[in-house]
């Protein structure tokens, strides 16, 4: 195996155009100097200033206040506001609510980290397996959860504590988080790691069983637990395996397109749309669990994204129509380092763990311009500023970018570290003839995470709506206006688990009345009265077909 690898290193071409190779020479020349000194951390005031001037959230005309419904007045990116102020895909009177296709206690919408975790804990909490149903518009496990690379935070090392973790979460979120939700997030983190160990998740550990931990942007301790740079995938594939072992019912390629309510005003299931057969069915449930994930595929402000194909904010659209409050949507997380080159992998994630292990952002002259591990929004703003100053490169397809000097990782930690700890990233670049152990990689901020969302309480219950629970990226409050690395996996684990446990508790004494879609009819009336133009949501999947097809597309049936 080794000789194969060496042969490849010797004969591979360097996958960059010449002008980028010239810039890489500057990066190499400054490397020794940069080994010794890095720029200082910014003060809270400096952070505030750079965010105001360069973070995309502060761009004029990028957001607007919602005009209708429970969230009227709430500021959201235009792309999200368009969905919230949208007409339903169905006309309520077309839907036959008298035939129930699936009748369950717990309906889980979404089969990513939060959905799978909730299903398992609902089962552990005593709900009969046949009284649970997971629905997903794509396949079991398809989610952003599976794509998270760098790690999961948990304060389980000797000089660390949940209290320090708590401070980091609030500081990273600029003190806009829900203080109660953060308590359970940090307090239950070590228990989640223990549960994963019992399920057989292979975390990176040394021979004594000590977790290999790394720092993340805005953390005061090294508490990032990882499984190479496949952390999310390793966790999700184990959860999937367990869901399959326990034979929890799953309905794939079925998307919830509208929540159902009963005559007492409780949420009571969903209308499902079969993505392939293009027909609908009715799922009635005592408790409905939203694990619908984020919104990266809306490409807010035209940004490329790290997100899964299905990340289209369907959950927000449906939840809004039953009267769910949605907060903190005015802040969007752009990951500082998405791939800027080559074009084929544009926008894909280059994990923060790279910087956690020593990689530095440098401009086209090989100069450092920011402390490598500021909180994500600050770091992203610094990269945008550097490119705006003309110190970044522009790719042949017109994408800006600065270097992330990855070879430093092997210099700091020994040859072979990148291939061992970042095998996913290494392969991603190798496929395009780029050897990130020898050359830096070109990066630019990319749309990564929905900071805000549905308002929940500490039991993962949706505030103000009975029968509805929510967890993971679709919710708001846990991360405030900026999430730190390693807290999204933790979020879907902690609140996915709580959602399973507390919904199981709830269904013991819950009942469902007569099903209704009156809330949808009422919302349509509100939209019409406000003069909202005709557009429909949820969108379920993004539209990427070429211009010729879109300009000639017809709906003949």
């Amino acid at each position: 195996m080794w000789s194969e690898k060496l042969r490849w290193v010797n004969y591979m071409e360097r996958g960059y155009p010449n002008y980028m190779l010239e810039s890489i020479e500057f990066v190499k020349q400054t490397r020794e100097k940069r080994l010794k000194e890095i720029p200082p951390l910014m003060s809270l005031e400096e952070r505030e200033q750079i965010l105001r001037k360069y973070h995309p959230d502060y761009r004029e005309d990028s957001k607007r206040a919602i005009k209708v419904g429970i969230n009227a007045g709430e500021l959201m990116p235009n792309e999200v506001a368009d969905l919230i102020e949208s007409y339903p895909l169905i006309q309520p009177e077309q839907i036959d609510l008298s035939t129930i296709d699936y009748d369950v206690d717990i309906l889980i919408i979404g089969a990513g980290g939060a959905g799978l975790t909730a299903a398992l804990w609902a089962l552990y909490s005593g709900v009969d397996v046949d009284r649970i149903l997971i629905v997903t518009k794509l396949r079991l496990g398809d989610s952003n959860s599976k794509m998270s690379q760098g790690g999961i935070q948990a304060a389980d090392c000797e000089d660390d504590s949940p209290s320090l973790h708590y401070l980091d979460v609030l500081g990273g979120g600029h003190f806009t988080n829900d203080p109660e939700l953060v308590k359970w997030l940090v307090r239950e983190a070590p228990m989640i790691i223990k549960w994963h160990e019992e399920l057989g998740v292979m975390y990176d550990k040394d021979e004594e069983g000590c977790m290999v931990v790394a720092p993340g942007g805005g953390t005061c301790r090294k508490r990032m637990h990882s499984a190479k740079d496949y952390t999310g995938m390793e966790i999700v594939r184990v959860l999937m395996d367990e869901v399959r072992n326990l034979e929890i019912p799953v309905l794939e390629f079925n998307s919830a397109i509208e929540l159902l309510m009963d005559d007492a005003g409780k949420v009571a299931g969903a209308v499902l749309w079969d993505m392939e057969k293009e027909d609908y069915s009715i799922a009635r449930a005592k408790a409905t669990l939203m694990a619908t994930g984020g919104f990266g595929r809306l490409h807010v402000q035209g940004f490329a994204t790290t997100n899964h194909y299905g990340a289209t904010a369907d959950g927000l659209v449906m939840a809004n129509r039953v009267g769910t409050r949605i907060i903190d949507m005015d802040s969007v997380q752009y990951h500082p380092t998405g791939s800027s080159y080559p074009e084929q992998i544009l926008g894909l994630l280059c994990t923060e763990k790279l910087r956690g292990r020593g990689a530095q952002p440098v401009n086209k002259y090989g100069e450092e311009f920011v402390y490598p591990l500021e909180p994500r929004d600050v770091e992203a703003a610094a990269l945008i500023r550097e490119c705006a100053r003309g110190n970044g490169l522009v790719t042949p397809t017109g994408m800006p970018g600065v270097w992330l000097d990855t070879p430093l990782i092997d210099i700091f930690h020994g040859e072979g570290t990148i291939e061992k700890e970042f095998s996913a990233m290494f392969l991603k670049y190798k496929r395009f003839d780029i050897d990130m152990t020898q050359d830096p990689i070109l990066v630019y901020p990319t749309l990564h995470f929905q900071n805000g969302g549905i308002v929940i309480n500490e039991r993962a219950g949706v505030v103000g709506v009975l029968g509805l629970f929510a967890a993971g990226e679709t919710t708001g409050g846990v991360h405030g206006k900026n999430r730190l690395m390693g807290n999204s996996i933790l979020d879907y684990c902690v609140y996915g688990r709580r959602m399973g446990i507390y919904s199981a508790d709830y269904v013991q004494n819950a009942n469902v009345g007569k099903l209704s879609l009156d809330h949808v009819t009422k919302y349509v009336k509100l939209l019409e009265d406000t003069g909202i133009p005709n557009r429909k949501a949820p969108i379920l999947l993004p539209e990427y077909r070429g211009e010729r097809t879109l300009s000639h597309a017809l709906d003949l049936l």
């Binding site: 810039s23 292979m202 975390y203 392969l427």
Partner: protein
């Protein structure tokens, strides 16, 4: 180094000719296979997932015009090239053993007991050649036959469960499910236990941190400036 002009060239868009399920299309050379389908007018429901190389949904086969060889790739991670014959694979039919991990013992024979067909491996290496993650699939199937759970776990770790190995195996083995079982056995029983984590969980159950946490919650609600002060002054130890 400032002042040096690093030329930023914009190339005119180069097009390549591809054959999507037999139909000819011209698409930009900067696209990956997934985006080439979309550029041509197709909309994916099957054969698509994360679009980032982590989910295995878009694993596919392709050929070049006038070439007998079959190639394998993740469609979202492979640049289009002139003369490619492209398709999507909507689904992989595969058997998965059902088990209760708590009742299994991590002994050498457990993989053979749950997946007896691994004994049919003829060591043809077709699985390895088909793996878009460049894993040594045959080596870990052989390790599974020997009962070396740790070796299977480590060699299969980067598996994204796309299923190409199972589709190509002449012995009808499903290597990726064998790898999943081995990794869980290794993680649960063989890897050294995370003692510090278990100790910390005990401390949390004993409410060791609750007073401090509740104090911070109160400050967050009542005296945010004090909390900010504590945040700024906290010792940073990440070296």
């Amino acid at each position: 180094m400032r002042g040096v002009n690093l030329e930023e060239k914009t190339e005119t868009e180069k097009m390549v000719r591809v054959y999507i399920m037999g139909r000819e299309f011209e698409v930009p050379a900067t696209l990956n296979i997934v985006k080439a389908f979309e550029y041509a007018g197709y909309r994916f429901i099957r054969g698509i997932g994360c679009r980032g190389g982590y989910c295995g949904a878009c694993a596919t086969v392709y050929r070049f015009k006038d070439d007998y060889r079959l190639n394998f790739a993740l469609a979202c991670q492979k640049a289009v090239e002139d003369g490619m014959y492209l398709t999507i694979l909507p689904f992989v039919p595969a058997e998965k053993a059902k088990y209760d991990l708590n009742k299994l013992k991590p002994r050498g024979t457990v993989l053979l007991e749950l997946y007896p067909e691994i004994a049919r491996c003829v060591a043809c290496n077709t699985c390895t050649k088909a793996c878009p993650q460049e894993l040594e699939v045959m080596d870990y199937v052989q390790a599974a036959i020997r009962g070396d759970i740790e070796e299977v776990a480590n060699l299969s770790f980067d598996c994204i469960q796309c299923g190409l190995c199972a589709m190509r195996c002449p012995a009808e083995i499903v290597p990726y499910n064998v790898g999943q079982l081995a990794r869980r056995l290794y993680g649960k029983y063989i890897a050294p236990q995370a003692k510090l984590t278990y100790e910390r969980v005990e401390e949390i159950h004993a409410c060791v941190f609750d007073e401090e946490l509740d104090n911070y919650i109160e400050l967050a609600k009542e005296d945010i400036e004090q909390l900010k002060k504590i945040y700024v002054e906290r010792e940073i130890k990440v070296g």
